[in-house]
Amino acid sequence: MGKPAGFELFDQVNAEDIFERAAKRAVSLLKAKPAPSGRYTVIADPHLAGIFPHEAVGHGCEADSVIAGESILEGRLGRKVGSEIVTIVDDSTVDGAWGTENYDDEGVPTKKRLLIEKGILKGYIHSKETAARLHKEPNGGARAENFSHRPVVRMSNTYIAKGDHTFEELIEDIDNGVYLKASRGGQVDTAKGTFQFNAEEAYRIRKGKITTPLLDVSLSGLTLETLHNIDALGKDFDWVVGFCGKSGQSVPVGDASPHIRIRNALVGGRA
């Protein structure tokens, strides 16, 4: 839990709930079975799914990576990169979000940046330098950890826009799948377009029902394949706070998503 706020946060959130959730998760892991390996239909909760727009898409939309030739999204502006239900946004102006700021670290006013709209790649995140090199307008994406670092192109608050399914609707027709919740983070190779995300909590889905708890497991995939394999979005939506590392610098970022369903995703268990 975190917000750029003061102690009034404790009026909105019951801190004891956070400890209770962690305790329940630890107890549930005692009965957990090793996770399966191979390809499954996966449901990711907002805290895990929120990493996807950041790691898999956002890093590939950072214009410095595009210019350096290390983004799978290079040369795809205006082209279809994912399923029609996928809209991904990086927005520095979300009220009360962890990565919000009015100006970036080159003094450029920040804004909402549409990265993918209904499956079409719409834009990149820019510093003044990358905007000039790609003949675009700067959009306030240059951030530095502090005075001793140079500003580099970074995300702010990155999210997948929500859909219209209830959780029950998402899982009801899954015969054999995996439900992944919460995350300690992930890693991405932007040039090859591959990613890995860890889930802190996982369950087997059998015949449309959540069943056995599973030990820690991760999800891996190819960004472009996965963007096409997202076939349903929940109507819920939640933020996670985090820090993003790049060029030896760490900056606060927010990630958000609804529950999402991914077909044919690679799950790395040991059973």
């Binding site: 892991l29 090793p34 996770a35 390996s37 191979g38 390809r39 410095d64 210019i67 350096a68 030739g69 290390e70 799978i72 950890e145 001793s148 140079r150 995350s183 300690r184 983070g185 992930g186 890693q187 991405v188 190779d189 040039a191 090859k192 377009g193 591959t194 990613f195 890995q196 995300f197 860890n198 802190e200 030990l215 820690d216 497991v217 991760s218 891996s220 995939g221 190819l222 820090f243 590392g245 030896g248 610098q249 760490s250 690679l266 799950v267 790395g268 268990g269 040991r270 059973a271």
Partner: protein, 464 residues
């Protein structure tokens, strides 16, 4: 510098500290970045400062305080001492704190400081970078070359009120190369890296050549099926996995907090007898080598796993006092990695490895890499893994994607693997180490390193 450290310690005692310690670290870093076949950035940074720790006597024990300064004057030293004392007076009594590091004599460690790096000009590195781009441009399918060349020097000095007084210099040199190759719809990535205390241009050329070669070999990968198979983890892959599982699990602070699967397992068999692991602070030219740790304790060679038996945990003075043992000289203030770093003088000491050396427990477990591969009927070899930092250190569970992996069939490397993952826990992995290759490689971190060969693990579920 020792004078200013002595002044800070004397002032702290005069102002009421029962014990005091002053730690100085100064770093000079030169970093050159290659971006899409061009030398992009060359930057030089310097930072220096002093961290002061004090122990204040209270009824039934001590409380400790910390503060630091970067304006290296007597006035700033005095202000910082007063600030540290104020922090100590606020902090609660720490029943486990007994003392800062007792004075013990440290012997110098050879070959950790390259004078050439201290005097290096940015132009020289920029010219090298330009040549490296040419070296890696071996084929028209190579579309992108990215890389960094880093060279740094660090000076460390420490004085405390228990008789410790010492200083040393260390240098570091690191290279990374990341190459993208493209051909008819296939995008492949190859990489390699190198680090050492000494500057070495020959190594730079071979790293960039290897990365380019790896990228070309990864073109047109194939999908593999999910199955139990032999797995060869190359040095960087094993380093990543150990760094986020076994390494934190054998640090005394995590053991004392019961956040380790090895609590109560000293002198028990926890790994295959084929495997030994040692923390060795005296390896020439290794980034984690040093005469004394960040509290002034002389460093040593500590057996962690000996032929499969767990022999020791790694200690700093605080955790050693708590367990009533001697510190193993593993106190560190080097905090860093992909998520940003902090200057060492600004951090209170915690625990970290020096050079973590993985080696065969018995001689018969070692063979040439080629021989090991030739005996694998069905398997996978991987240079790296992606996402090791998401491992669950207290339980040892990890689940990672393979990076730069190849399928092995009938004793030969058959084809590049499109996508694969492995899951498991470190306790099982170290029990199933079957062979170790003769290709021990030094993989450097921020002021520490891992020296490990490729290992063969049998019957690992690889999902594809």
């Amino acid at each position: 510098m020792i004078d200013l450290l002595e002044y800070a310690v004397k002032q702290a005692e005069k102002k009421g500290a029962k014990q005091a310690e002053a730690f100085y670290a100064a770093e000079n870093r030169l970093r050159t970045t290659i971006e899409k076949k061009q030398v992009k950035i060359s930057e030089r940074k310097s930072e220096a400062g002093i961290g002061v720790r004090v122990a204040l006597k209270k009824t039934n024990g001590f409380s400790t305080g910390f503060s630091y300064f970067t304006d290296l004057t007597k006035k700033a030293a005095l202000d910082t001492v007063l600030q540290a004392l104020k922090v100590a007076s606020f902090r609660k009594l720490d029943k486990d704190f007994k003392s800062f590091q007792e004075g013990r004599r440290a012997s110098p460690v050879k070959n950790i400081y390259d004078k050439k790096i201290a005097g290096i000009e940015p132009e020289k590195v920029v010219n090298l970078a330009a040549d490296l781009i040419k070296t890696a441009s071996i084929d028209k399918r190579i579309t992108t070359i990215i890389g960094t060349i880093g060279a740094n020097t660090t000076q460390v000095a420490i004085v405390n009120s228990l008789g410790i007084s010492g200083k040393f210099n260390i240098s570091g040199y690191s290279l990374s190369a990341y190459v993208v190759a493209q051909e008819t719809g296939s995008v492949a990535v190859g990489w390699d890296e190198y680090s050492n205390c000494y500057y070495n241009e020959d190594e730079a050329y071979s790293i960039f050549k290897n990365a380019a070669g790896n990228a070309l070999k990864q073109l047109h990968p194939k999908t593999i099926k999910t199955e139990k198979t032999d797995l060869l983890l190359q040095p960087q892959a094993l380093t990543q996995i150990l760094a986020f599982t076994l390494m934190p699990e054998i640090m005394a602070n995590n053991v004392q907090k019961q956040q380790s699967p090895f609590v109560g397992k000293l002198n028990q068999t926890i790994a295959s007898s084929n495997l030994s692991i040692t923390d060795d602070a005296h390896i020439p030219q290794a980034l984690g080598s040093k005469p004394f740790d960040d509290e002034g304790c002389p460093t040593q060679t500590t057996k962690i796993i000996d032929k499969g038996k767990l022999k020791n945990f790694l200690y700093n003075s605080y955790t050693a006092n708590k367990d009533k043992v001697k510190s193993t000289g593993n106190s560190t203030r080097a905090f860093g990695g992909i998520f940003g770093r902090k200057p060492r003088y600004s951090v209170e000491p915690f625990i970290g490895p020096t050079n973590f050396r993985v080696h065969p427990g018995i001689q018969s477990a070692e063979a040439q890499l080629g021989e090991i591969i030739s005996e694998v009927k069905n398997g996978v070899i991987t240079k790296g893994v992606i996402g090791a930092h998401t491992a669950n250190a207290p339980s040892g569970e990890f689940s990672v994607a393979l990076d730069l992996a190849f399928k092995i069939e009938k004793g030969e490397i058959a084809y590049p693997v499109k996508q694969a993952m492995i899951g498991g826990n470190i306790q099982d992995l170290i029990k199933n180490v079957t062979m170790l290759a003769d290709d021990a490689t030094h993989v450097g971190f921020e002021h520490s390193s891992m020296v490990t060969p490729t290992i063969l693990v049998r019957k690992v579920t690889v999902s594809g």
